[in-house]
């Protein structure tokens, strides 16, 4: 068996989908786990969520939009806090968009038009292995035939494998993204900075990059977690968004965040169309409220507000800050996941579900917002339902109606 047309990460996901599966629903009482029927697991899950004063519903990086909307309906019904994994990855990017706006484009636009490609705090050689060939410097498009027609710029705190391929590389001091972006912005706004260096880079080099950016025909800035999760967070992204916005006075320039989990973009999209907000939504007042820092999963956990959690298609015990993960282990959790993960291992109820895109259909949104239908290739193991179906069944028990 083999996988074609996928990158190394995709290939391993497809070929490894059946490793480490959660074999059956599990209920854990006092550290003792026992396999149970799906009905019993759903009953117990519903009980946990119904009894909670302020449950959290969290996850959604790796499931379908259809499952996400089912979860939102449940979350609204029980007055929960609903959050998705962007709270710990590109949440700051979204907050920055709310302040500045965003000049962006689909990946095909980059492929056809871009003659200058900047990766900032992003190492696609590892994180998005096919990105550079399909949409980046090596891509072949209508107006650009390949690497020779494009310039590649990398800005990072270390010489990454991506940086080794760059025509122009700025190795900045860690934590100085905001300063370097602002210096660039000052340059393109024709403001002289009377300093020798910014972020450990001589000002002449920054000006050189400014010239490259202003002089291209179509530029794009891809940014990764190097920008969102280093000191400054959404302010860093704001500086990048503002720089790209202002570059449009000189040429055409766009910015695209390099997203991680395959449908975190879909989670943001569905959260936004149903609740108005992309993540961190509190339903406890009967309508959506959003105030990052207050209505976000990590913060609510840290303050000890959540007294139960429903986790879907995510592994927060591995990914959350340690303090929050510790708090999560103190409250009853219901976890839906195809695999055994650190989170399912501590769950009070763990329910195995089908792999979206391998064992179940559904829609995912690509990182540039292009929706794609995921196909079902093989049947899930007997008795295993999709996230969407399990959520609807829990919803029916909890809310007493068919959601």
């Amino acid at each position: 068996m083999g996988v074609r047309n996928a990158c190394a990460l995709g290939t391993s996901k497809f070929l490894g989908y059946n490793h480490g599966r959660l074999p059956s629903p599990v209920i854990r009482v006092g550290g003792e786990a026992r396999p149970v029927s799906l009905e019993e697991a759903i009953e117990r899950a519903a009980e946990i969520l119904s009894k909670a004063n302020y449950p959290a519903v969290y996850g959604f990086g790796s499931t379908s939009v259809e499952a996400i909307t089912a979860a939102l309906e449940l979350a609204e019904g029980i007055g929960a806090l609903a959050d998705n994994v962007s709270t710990i990855c590109h949440g700051p990017s979204l907050e920055a968009v709310q302040d500045i706006g965003e000049v962006t484009c689909t990946l095909g636009v980059v492929r056809h038009r871009a003659d200058l490609i900047v990766y900032w705090g992003s190492n696609p050689v590892y994180s998005h292995p096919r990105h550079m060939i399909r949409y980046g410097p090596m891509a072949e498009g209508r107006f650009r035939k390949g690497r020779a027609d494009r310039k590649l710029v990398v800005v990072d705190v270390r010489k990454t494998p991506t940086a080794r391929l760059a025509d122009f590389f700025l190795q900045i001091k860690p934590g100085t993204d905001y300063e370097v972006l602002s210096a660039l912005r000052a340059y393109i706004k024709e403001i002289d900075l009377e300093v020798e260096e910014v972020g450990g880079i001589r000002i002449e080099r920054i000006e050189e990059l400014g010239e490259l950016m202003m002089g291209c025909q179509f530029g794009v800035l891809f940014f990764g977690l190097g920008l969102t999760m280093s000191p400054g967070r959404h302010r860093n992204v704001e500086a990048a968004l503002a720089l790209v916005r202002d570059l449009n006075a000189w040429t055409k320039f766009a910015i695209v965040p390099m997203r991680g989990h395959f449908n975190v973009e879909g989670a943001n999209a569905a959260f936004t169309w149903e609740t108005g907000y992309p993540f961190g939504v509190d339903f406890s007042h009967g309508y959506p409220r959003y105030n990052p820092g207050e209505t976000t999963f990590v913060d609510a956990l840290n303050r000890g507000e959540c007294d139960a959690a429903l986790i879907v298609a995510s592994d927060p015990i591995s990914h959350l800050p340690k303090d929050s993960a510790d708090k999560l282990m103190e409250i009853p959790t219901v976890v839906l996941d195809p695999h055994i993960t650190p989170t399912t291992l501590v769950a009070h109820v763990a329910i195995p579900t089908a792999h979206v895109g391998i064992e179940a259909q559904g829609t995912a949104y690509r990182m540039d917002g292009v929706p794609l239908e995921l196909k079902k290739l093989v049947d899930p193991p007997p008795g295993i339902l999709t996230d969407e179906e399990v959520l609807r069944r829990i919803g029916r028990v909890v809310l007493g109606v068919s959601p």
């Binding site: 939009v65 909307t69 309906e73 609204e76 019904g77 979204l94 968009v97 709310q98 302040d99 500045i100 706006g101 965003e102 000049v103 962006t104 484009c105 689909t106 990946l107 095909g108 636009v109 492929r111 056809h112 038009r113 399909r134 949409y135 209508r142 107006f143 025909q217 179509f218 916005r245 449009n248 040429t251 055409k252 766009a254 943001n268 999209a269 569905a270 936004t272 169309w273 149903e274 609740t275 108005g276 907000y277 992309p278 339903f283 007042h285 009967g286 309508y287 959506p288 959003y290 829609t363 949104y365 917002g369 292009v370 929706p371 794609l372 239908e373």
Partner: protein, 569 residues
């Protein structure tokens, strides 16, 4: 409740399509359709005595769903905080003032007596997203218009002069994206925006494509005729929002005049025409040219328009017209989003607030109303605020009050920038719409323009979509008591959708799933095969997704309602 017959008794019925103008009569609904009569014993009786009974509203142009709308939602949390819909039994929650979330959109339209709303700008590549949202808008029947004016396949076919090939491609595209009508936005200008540029006239060359805006317009107008689509081409003209652009909009209409043929039916719809009726050379010298545009529309029955009426309040401008949105950002300094879509289109979003004491805004307000008052045939001018561009759709009752009451206009004029009305003729216009005309510009005319035979009227066989307003058209003088009119139009006593009471005195009582209309245009088999082969061959060159992943199946629609047409090709 479904299936139960409904009898609406003793209301004052306005159904201009069937020549009923305020007659006291009963309306019967059975199985979701208007019928001759139903047995009272089997029907739910609604006492509509002293109330206004009209067909459910039909909005021809309102941005309610899709990637651009959602980006507008995402970037405006400040818009949502002060306007929310709480959850209630059988009702979902939501937020949003100018860009409401999906559920809130459905409820607010239903409360206002609207039952059909068309989303007018959807990038085909992201049409799946648009349908996700449309599926989650409760109650309303809806449809969306794919953006085709700068689509590379369209440009390729038309620049080769292959109109039939283009028609076959469009037929495939409508079915693949479950779209309804052809939306053309700033033709040629959007492709130029791919390079940060724009076009300035109908005869500018589109960069790297051997075609001009005029050729795109004419080509797609021909395609529309060849396919016999239910609606005309739906055009957001070049030069929108620029002083002096009225010449360009007249030129745009004029560009297709000879394609009218012998039908005598409209062949072009100019949308949110207010934004295209500006005189003067700059913002400083801006004047209203609504009269010139209205005169042209009056003389030429092949044209229909909608208003894009500004409201003095917050708005969120969002169009596929990337270069215009950028210029608006430069003008206002407000936050700006732009989203280009490969091989197809772009989108831009800028929040704005229309202010009474801003001269430009005051003139824009007057232009919209002048168009409505100067165009004589109400069947060819429709009420829109180009939601949420010139204001949210929830402001329709205010616009209707301005149209039905000179006093209402005068009351608003009092607070305007002192110079503004000197550049407009609005203060001199006496015309006041009557109830029939109001019904035409909000439902009967729009349904006709969209080719929806079962909408916009209450004749036998029409859909059982009825709005009952707590207004007595016999005793209320809208000219004098415009405030009561406004209040009455804001909340129906009953909104009935397909025979189901969906709203009662502002409370949502049911949320049936609405239809999604789309057009199936079966063209000649050989033609469609040749064109599809060609499209398939070039698809990988143009897109970053596979041909097989582009089309969406009608099982993705909550309630699929195809309209099958009979193309000439």
């Amino acid at each position: 409740m479904e299936g139960k017959a409904v009898l609406i008794k003793n209301g004052y019925v306005y159904d201009p399509l069937n020549n009923i103008h305020g007659d006291r009569m009963d309306i019967a609904i059975k199985d979701g359709m208007i019928v001759e009569d139903v047995r009272e014993s089997e029907a739910l009786i609604i006492d509509a005595r002293d109330m206004l009974v009209v067909p459910g509203g039909v909005d021809i142009h309102s941005h309610i769903a899709g990637s651009k709308v959602n980006l507008g939602r995402l970037m405006r949390p400040e818009d949502h905080r002060r306007d929310y819909e709480p959850r209630a039994p059988g009702k979902r929650s939501g937020v949003g003032h100018t860009v409401p979330s999906t559920f809130a959109t459905g409820y607010r339209y239903a409360r206002m007596g609207y039952t059909t709303v068309f989303e007018p700008a959807s990038p085909p590549l992201k049409q799946r997203h648009t349908h996700h949202e449309l599926n989650e808008i409760p109650i309303l029947d809806k449809a969306c218009f794919p953006l085709v004016g700068d689509n590379w396949f369209v440009l390729d076919y038309l620049s080769r002069g292959d109109v039939e090939g283009c028609a076959a491609y469009i037929a495939w595209l409508l079915e693949a994206t479950k779209g309804y009508a052809l939306k053309i936005v700033n033709p040629g200008g959007i492709e130029a925006w791919g390079w940060g540029r724009n076009v300035a006239s109908l005869d500018d060359q589109v960069p790297y494509f051997r075609i001009t805006p005029r050729e795109i317009l004419r080509g797609l107008c021909r395609v529309n005729r060849l396919l016999r689509l239910p609606h005309t081409i739906h055009v957001h003209a070049n030069g929108i929002g620029m002083p002096g652009n009225y010449r360009l909009v007249i030129e745009t209409m004029e560009a297709v005049r000879d394609l009218e043929g012998c039908h005598g039916k409209p062949i072009i719809h100019i949308t949110h025409c207010q934004f295209n009726s500006y005189g003067g050379e700059s913002w400083l010298t801006l004047t209203s040219e609504a009269e010139t545009v209205a005169k042209y529309v009056n003389r030429n029955s092949y044209v229909t328009i909608d208003l894009g009426q500004p409201i003095f309040a917050d708005a969120t401008t969002m169009t596929a017209d990337g270069p215009f949105q950028y210029s608006l950002h430069l003008l206002t300094g407000a936050k700006w989003a732009n989203a280009d879509v490969e091989a197809e289109t772009s989108a831009g979003i800028v929040p704005i607030r229309f202010r009474k004491r801003n001269r430009t805004n005051a003139i824009q307000w007057a232009i919209g109303l002048e168009l409505a008052l100067l165009i004589k045939d109400p069947w060819r001018v429709y009420l829109t605020t180009d939601h949420p561009n010139a204001g949210p759709f929830t402001a329709y009752p205010r616009v209707i009050a301005w149209l039905m009451s000179r006093r209402a206009r005068e009351a608003t004029m009092k607070g305007l920038h002192p110079m503004a009305m000197k550049r407009c003729i609005l203060p001199s216009l006496d015309r006041e719409y009557d109830f029939s005309e109001m019904v035409i510009i909000t439902r009967a005319g729009t349904a006709k323009a969209l080719g929806l035979k079962e909408k916009g009227h209450l004749g036998i066989g029409a859909h059982g979509d009825v709005a009952i307003y707590p207004l007595n058209p016999k005793s209320l003088d809208p000219s004098k008591d415009y405030k009561a009119l406004r209040k009455g139009l804001r909340r129906t006593a009953y909104t009935i959708k397909g025979g189901i009471i969906v709203a009662r005195d502002g409370t949502i009582t049911a949320q049936p799933i609405g239809r999604t209309y789309w057009v199936k245009a079966p063209v000649r088999k050989e033609l469609s095969q040749t064109v599809l082969k060609d499209v398939r061959a070039r698809f990988r060159d143009y897109y970053t997704i596979q041909f097989e992943n582009y089309a969406l199946d009608d099982r993705h629609l909550a309630l699929s309602a195809p309209i099958i047409v009979n193309p000439e090709v």
